[in-house]
């Protein structure tokens, strides 16, 4: 069953069409990622669910109830903002308690639930701290805790990890995934980072120019992108025209060496250069008028002839007419 459903949603601001006829079903308990290049309308879609971006057309439902006409405070969607939006005039505990206070939860109960949430976030020692005294990772966790403390049916996350440095991001990514699994909360997360989407989501919604291009599980999206632009966005960096179609593959899945391997695609060319990529060499080849890149076990001297071999399963075929559509 879809916990959250968008039906033919369009959003226009002035002349600009930010979202075009977007329809989407978010299954209950799923971790769904909105993935796409910056400016494609991901945040706008998320904000439309929260009630901050009025629809020009379409409907949004939670369960079978339409929420399109409700003000944000009555939608029961909990959002974690990209900037975290923690209230600086309240300390950590007060930030967590405020949503409960708004719901008329008694003081004792508030204190109990705030303490339990801080415990779960492993931040029990921070209850009395001002927001300014927290690190980025701690702020992120408090923002998440503040959203979760109301037991919302839907959790909305706008690039929750993008303001953090790489090490913290990986830790928090795992934490976020575990927490979502344990609570079983329907989650819709925005990200422009494909690695993040692939590792976190069980469903990825790929967007471009205010439209949904593809909805798929991470593996399907990675191995069978809907079109060439999507493939490129997902790191497919080699294109070989063949007849009326284009064959595409990732250099990480192609082999370069002095001899050809058994493979679906084999081409001979000359080495342009070799750069070490940690564990293997990234080798650029000039093949006829094309430039292709593949990985090799050893560095190859520039100008020497070499073969590029791509296994069948790494090849993606895109028909020209479908790509143009």
């Amino acid at each position: 069953m879809a916990a959250l459903e968008l039906e033919n949603v369009s959003i226009r601001i002035g002349q600009a069409r930010i979202l075009n006829d977007v329809s989407l079903q978010v299954p209950a308990g799923s971790f769904t990622c909105l993935l796409g290049p910056s400016g494609c309308g991901k945040t706008t879609l998320l904000r439309s669910v929260a009630g901050f971006a009025p629809l020009s057309a379409g409907d949004i439902r939670i369960g079978d109830r339409s929420i399109a006409g409700l003000p944000p405070e009555r939608r029961e969607t909990a959002m974690v903002f990209q900037s975290y939006a923690l209230w600086p005039h309240m300390n950590v505990g007060e930030n967590l308690a405020y949503p409960l206070k708004l719901r008329g939860v008694s003081r004792g109960e508030r204190e109990r639930r705030v303490a339990a949430m801080l415990e779960r976030l492993d931040l029990a020692h921070c209850a009395k701290r001002p927001i300014g005294a927290l690190s980025g990772g701690q702020r992120q966790r408090i923002a998440l805790g503040r959203a979760l403390i109301i037991d919302p049916p839907i959790l909305l996350l706008d690039e929750p990890l993008s303001n953090l440095d790489a090490a913290i991001r990986r830790t928090l990514r795992t934490e976020l995934r575990d927490l979502q699994r344990r609570l079983g909360i329907t989650t819709l997360m925005v990200t422009h980072d494909q690695e993040e989407a692939l590792s976190l989501a069980d469903r990825i919604v790929l967007m471009r120019d205010g439209r949904i291009i593809q909805v798929a599980d991470p593996e399907t999206l990675y191995t069978a992108p809907a079109d060439l632009d999507t493939a490129r966005f997902l790191g497919v960096d080699n294109l070989v025209p063949e007849g009326g179609a284009t064959l595409a593959f990732r250099s990480t899945q192609a082999h370069a060496g002095p001899r050809a391997l058994h493979a679906g695609l084999r081409r001979q060319g000359r080495v342009i250069d070799s750069t070490y990529a940690g564990g293997a060499w990234r080798i650029r080849l000039a093949v006829a008028e094309l430039e292709l890149t593949a990985m090799g076990e050893a560095s190859l001297a520039a100008g020497t002839p070499a073969w590029i071999s791509v296994p069948d399963h790494a090849l993606m075929r895109f028909d020209a007419h479908r790509d143009a559509a």
Binding site: A50, G51, F52, P71, P72, E73, R75, T77, A78, M79, F81, S83, A85, L86, W87, P88, H89, Y98, P99, L102, R103, P130, I131, G132, R146, A147, I150
Partner: protein, 274 residues
């Protein structure tokens, strides 16, 4: 080279204290003169200093019938009321302005400032004529209204800046987690804009405390504030009384700022350190 540089550096080293001293003299010179007058009993023209010092005039100023206490009371009540009135009007106006798109906002604020560019004497004369018809001349309320006029302009300008600086995602977070628009305003927006609003109230208070022209046209002779008292004393050649009144004028100003600062410390300084 070094020989040449030495005098230059010496000059540079002397320059700063010299400039500082000069600035201090320009700023504080008149104040020192004023302070001397306040404790003078006799001071004849060519002398650089008073020939006789004393507190005799202080006693005269604070004599119950001299009117200083009443003027002080008027000044403070009028200033507090002007602060309350200006802010009560400025807060909703500024909030609405801060939410407008930028070019329109700037335009409205500029228009708002326009009357201030006018010489204010004819304005006050007109207001006095209007107030006369409304029976507001010579009332405290009339004086409060006149003081709120420039006060409102300050307050709207400063409060608009304060509200514009509030991060909208803070308000959205509150809405998202269950607060209605009013609750969001009171619980998030207002506390965030508080330093600016306090700055605005200090401006309005200080402006009202030494407002003269409007009070003169609308208030006198029924309402005497400290500046009016001072004016009357000066016109009567009584520099001691004028000087003492000026010093008294400092009391509510400094007091108001101290109270506000004490009140600010815990809350706002914590936030600035963010």
């Amino acid at each position: 080279m070094t020989l040449l540089r030495l005098p230059a550096r010496l000059l540079g080293g002397l320059m700063l204290p010299l400039l500082l001293g000069l600035t201090a003299f320009v700023v504080f010179g008149p104040l020192i003169n004023l302070a001397m007058w306040a404790f003078t009993e006799q001071w004849f023209f060519p002398n650089r200093f008073p020939s006789q010092w004393g507190f005799a005039f202080w006693e005269r100023v604070f004599r119950p019938r001299a009117g200083a206490w009443e003027a002080l009371y008027h000044s403070v009540t009028v200033a507090l009321a002007a602060v309350a009135l200006s802010l009560a009007l400025a807060i909703p106006a500024a909030y609405a302005l801060a939410r407008l798109a930028l070019p329109l906002r700037s335009l409205i604020m500029l228009v708002f400032l326009l009357p201030q560019a006018f010489p204010n004497l004819p304005i006050f004369v007109n207001i006095a004529a209007m107030f006369y018809g409304l029976g507001l001349n010579g009332t405290l309320f009339g004086v409060v209204l006149v003081h709120s006029l420039p006060g409102l302009v300050y307050a709207v300008w400063i409060a608009t800046a304060a509200f514009s600086a509030v991060d909208r995602s803070l308000e959205e977070a509150a809405r998202n987690l269950g607060a209605g628009p009013l609750r969001t305003f009171l619980g998030v927006t207002l506390p965030q804009a508080l330093p600016g609003l306090i700055a605005a109230s200090i401006f309005v208070f200080l402006d009202s405390i030494d407002e003269f022209t409007g009070t003169y046209f609308v208030g006198t002779p029924d309402i005497t504030t400290l500046p009016i008292l001072m004016f009357n004393a000066s016109m009567g050649g009584n520099y001691q009384i004028a000087a003492i009144t000026a010093l008294i004028l400092l009391v509510p100003s400094v007091g108001f700022m101290l109270i506000i600062e004490r009140f600010l410390k815990a809350d706002v300084l914590a936030r600035i350190g963010r």
